[in-house]
């Protein structure tokens, strides 16, 4: 092991623990520690501060080497965003927050309650639509989620609405029938709207561990993901797994949920993310 000016086995070990405890995952942690060791060997890092800066720089680089972190818009007609993810991560609430932010920009928004399965799901989104000033389209209890997406897009076109946010039921990526159901919703949107869905965002819980890797792989097999919403970033979870996801899938974090209120949504800031890991 390399020992340089206060850079020793203990510094690397404490760095490794920092990354592991922030849920970077074993693979990404080892790659990052190797990277920093290499910088030290080449004389680019001479002390603890240099070590942290070298690491911060590399993490920011990895997070930037992804698809765009902007939200795409339709060239004409309604813009449609499809929101997906496993159970309980924050899909419905994130949609409410995004709707509120779009409303602040003067856009008209329609919320499509395509979770026709879970108790109280449609009512939950209906209440949010009311609170944020968005239109609402729901479906029959246990009805076809794809039909709700279909109806919502028709309604948006008829009423000249700018953005449609499609809420879907939470689903574990290991349940094949549920992933096929999601593919059907996606297919209906693609057929109804040129270029749609303009974003397909997977919501991840900031306290998630390395299972996020399995989630993204499976969801990506089913639909074309364009970005991540990192919800519950106000928790003690750092969501470090997004670095491994950037490396493996080039998937950018586009939005960050920071609370349970409709205003609690921010754009992703890689620098703030890195600072959060080291505080």
């Amino acid at each position: 092991r390399v020992v340089v000016d206060g850079m020793d086995h203990e510094s690397l070990e404490s760095l490794e623990e920092k990354l592991l405890s922030a849920d970077f995952g074993v693979g990404a942690t080892l790659r990052l520690v190797d990277h920093v060791e290499e910088l030290t060997r080449r004389g680019k890092v001479r002390d603890q501060k240099g070590l942290r800066d070298g690491l911060a720089e590399e993490v920011e680089r990895l997070l930037g080497a992804t698809g765009s972190d902007e939200l795409a818009e339709a060239a004409e007609g309604p813009t449609v965003y499809l929101i997906v993810g496993v159970n309980g991560v924050g899909k419905t609430t994130s949609i409410a927050k995004l709707a509120w932010h779009l409303r602040q920009e003067g856009l008209t928004v329609l919320l499509a309650a395509a979770d026709t399965f879970r108790a109280g799901a449609t009512e939950q989104l209906r209440i949010w639509a009311d609170r944020v000033g968005a239109e609402f389209v729901g479906g029959q209890d246990r009805g076809d989620p794809a039909a709700v997406a279909f109806d919502a897009i028709d309604a948006a076109r008829a009423r000249g609405i700018d953005v449609v946010l499609v809420d879907t039921a939470g689903r574990l990526h290991t349940h094949r029938n549920l992933m096929e159901e999601l593919q059907k919703v996606d297919r209906v949107i693609r057929r109804k709207i040129e270029g749609g869905p303009h974003e397909t965002l997977i919501v991840l819980d900031a306290t998630v561990g390395q299972n996020a890797v399995s989630q993204v792989r499976s969801f990506r097999d089913a639909v074309e993901l364009t970005g991540i919403v990192l919800a519950k970033a106000d928790s003690t979870g750092r969501g470090g797994i997004v670095v491994a996801l950037a490396q493996e899938h080039g998937l950018p974090v586009k939005l960050v949920g920071t609370g349970e209120g409709m205003k609690d949504l921010e754009a992703f800031d890689p620098r703030a993310f890195v600072e959060g890991v080291f505080e």
Partner: protein, 292 residues
């Protein structure tokens, strides 16, 4: 498979007889990676492996078993022993109703688990009642009321924006009045670092004097499982854990982290979205899943 992997790693230790120190250390390095990949907390992993090392060193390698298999067996048995507990059922009250308080982070599965518990008790011939005390999340009351109707269990609810403690006290009075022998109280999800909301839970505990305080935790939780469990345990003294969404492919290292740091038993495992999808925790299966 794990013991083959380990045998490959230990290939250079050709001697038969005793598990030597270098052999054990090499094997445990491999196991450490497996545990970390299963989301077990890095400190819990370290403490666990130190104990296993003590146990493994000097052990006689069984004639029929390879050193790799031997180490895996020691690790698996130690893990299952750690996760297990003799009396991990519900602590029934001598004078009904037994009160069960369901707590945890946002979205972990509390409302669904509360309904599953009620359903389980109905099937066991008991008379449960549900209390919808999440008066904050939109349609949370609606969600539990719908589930309660589905399983034909009476539910007492408050109004969104109301006082959860008052609602819980009303529910308790109703349960006693209606001779319900177990009351399951659903609460709003909250962060363990949210002081006012943790204080609200302490108030609920002192108003209800529950026999069980179940922490509902998501099986896919990463390293934070330690801080989350510690936070809820320090505030309330939880009595057990329900690990949800185990029908996915999360390895569930959170189970070891939570058990390791609070000493509380994993009592239940959620295995789906349906009201029947609740199993008693099986330490052998939890251990096997973590080590796969």
């Amino acid at each position: 498979e794990l013991s083959e992997k380990l045998d490959a790693a230990l290939g250079k230790f050709r001697q038969r007889g005793v598990l030597t120190e270098p052999m054990v250390k090499e094997g445990l390095r491999e196991i450490r990676r497996i545990l970390l990949e299963a989301d077990v907390h890095f400190k819990v992993t370290r403490d666990f492996l130190n104990r296993v090392q003590e146990q493994a060193l000097g052990e006689d390698v069984l004639k029929s078993v390879s050193p790799g298999q031997q180490i895996v067996k020691i690790v698996h048995d130690e893990l299952a022993a750690l996760l297990g507990e003799e009396r991990a059922g519900i602590a029934w009250a001598s004078k009904p109703p037994t009160v069960i308080l369901v707590v945890g982070l946002q979205g972990s599965g509390k409302t669904t688990t509360a309904a599953k518990l009620a359903r389980r008790f109905v099937r066991d011939g008991r008379q449960p009642m549900l209390a919808a005390c999440d008066l904050q999340r939109p349609a949370a009351v609606d969600q539990l009321v719908t589930l309660a109707k589905r399983i034909k269990v009476p539910v007492h609810s408050g109004e969104t924006g109301g006082d959860p403690v008052a609602t819980a006290q009303e529910a308790l009075a109703q349960a006693e009045e209606q001779n319900r022998n177990v009351l399951i109280v659903d609460t709003a999800g909250r962060l363990q670092i949210d002081e006012p909301l943790m204080e609200e839970l302490r108030k609920l505990k002192s108003a209800l004097a529950p026999q069980e305080i179940l922490l509902v935790a998501d099986a896919m939780t990463g390293q934070e499982a330690v801080r989350i469990a510690q936070g809820f345990d320090d505030a309330l003294e939880i009595t057990g854990v329900a690990l949800t969404k185990m029908d996915g492919d999360a390895r569930g290292g959170a189970a070891l982290s939570i058990r390791g740091v609070t000493g509380r038993p994993i009592k239940f495992v959620g295995t789906g979205e349906g009201v029947d999808d609740l199993d008693l925790a099986d330490p052998e299966r939890l251990a096997g899943r973590i080590l796969q």
